[in-house]
Symmetry: C2
Subunit: 225 residues, 2 copies
DNA sequence: TGCGATTTGTCCGTATGTATT
DNA sequence: TAATACATACGGACAAATCGC
């Protein structure tokens, strides 16, 4: 991995791609709440584009899972059940364990320095206590490290698909609980193990880490049902 | 899992969905070879539909990975490298191991009978030696069992996305090597372990099984490079 | 129950941008 | 450089399905 990789994904040249980005950000930032219906004509007018590329962008977001489509009825921002969160966390555990197996031998000093830099960026944003949304992004950026270092393109794609859903959950959780964001020490062991020499210890910690994340994330569901 | 589940995915009501199915079958059956360029206007005329739903269907296949899109240049049927196959097999190993962990406690007698039925269907088609393409479908149907029984919808989706790519590789391999199809005894141990009581033994066998599958599948790449 | 309004799904014509020759 | 081919995008139109009255 080059240290410069994946700083900012360059803006897509096609209007469809740009619309995917705009809509995704709109949803995961919580600006359009879960369950809200989106009508093509209104949305197209609001975005200043025609229905063609908008429909294609919508299809992509449906595929990721952020939108759900009911033919001839409409498209809606996804609603979240307890089971959804449990499934994402369990699959994510398996994927991230696989990612660490794949990247374990590729952890160059530069790569590890990059990981620590991401951790510092996360704790810094948490300490500032002014940007909980940014903290969520930093946390996901931290977890993206193992996927990038793995060099496994298919695995990276899986993470790219999973990540917006996680971000959506986190933001929903945060909006339900006020300004929280991730805990400051939540990733200390994660970083230590990731930089250490015991792969099995890392894999075992991932189970705990995810279990803990699931428990805290899922609390906001209780209040909704 | 109900025994009747997932026999035939009902045909999609929208033209877009139907087109996705048609194009997917066209590609995984090998009727349009790897690397071939598809032009929208010609394809739309050939399919008897307009470019709107066709473009949406194409986007979906790009997302799955069967097509690759180069903006303003064109869309092409994917070409396969050795690395692609290695990545699919390694990720698939991780996913299928996870699937068996998830489904292990849910293996009712009915579910196990269903698994054995799929195995019988596979060996029967292999023995007939007249339908290698059907044999490939039956093999994938066999491997789909653990995903269905797991009851994990996200995991099932992952398999649904991975499966067409595998089918594409298998058919390419078969076309390069004449009428082969999967070996008859290749899944005997797989079935035994899946019906047994030792989860760890199943997981270990999956490593071997996939390693073996990778080795045989990858041979056709050698002849192309 | 039926009717009208709204929205999605689909088609077509046209214009523009990009790549290739 | 010009010309061709094609992907991309726009706008208008109609059909089909759904929903509310």
């Amino acid at each position: 991995m080059t240290a410069l990789a994946s700083l900012r994904p360059i803006a897509d040249s096609t209007l469809r791609g740009q619309t995917v980005d705009r809509l995704r950000d709109l949803i995961v930032s919580g600006q359009v709440g879960a369950g809200v219906r989106l009508t093509e004509t209104h949305l197209a007018k609001a975005l200043g584009i025609s229905r063609g590329p908008l429909r294609e962008a919508i299809r992509e977001l449906v595929d990721i899972g952020l939108l759900v489509s009911q033919p001839y009825k409409g498209i809606f921002v996804r609603s979240v059940t307890r089971r959804d969160i449990e499934e994402v966390y369990s699959l994510r555990t398996a994927l991230e364990q696989f990612a660490f197996k794949q990247c374990w031998a590729k952890r160059t000093p530069e790569a590890l320095a990059n990981l620590r830099a991401r951790h510092r960026a996360l704790t810094k944003v948490i300490d500032s206590q002014s940007d909980p949304f940014g903290a969520i992004e930093r946390e996901l950026e931290l977890h993206g490290w193992c996927y990038e270092v793995s060099g496994h393109t298919l695995l990276q794609k899986s993470w790219t698909r999973l990540r917006p859903n996680l971000q959506f959950y986190f933001v929903m959780h945060q909006q339900a609980h006020g300004r929280l964001g991730p805990r400051r020490e939540a990733h200390d062991v994660y970083i230590d193990r990731a930089c250490g020499d015991d792969l099995e210890a890392m894999l075992a910690h991932l189970e705990d880490h995810m279990q803990q994340g699931l428990k805290t994330t899922i609390t906001f569901i209780e209040a909704m049902e």
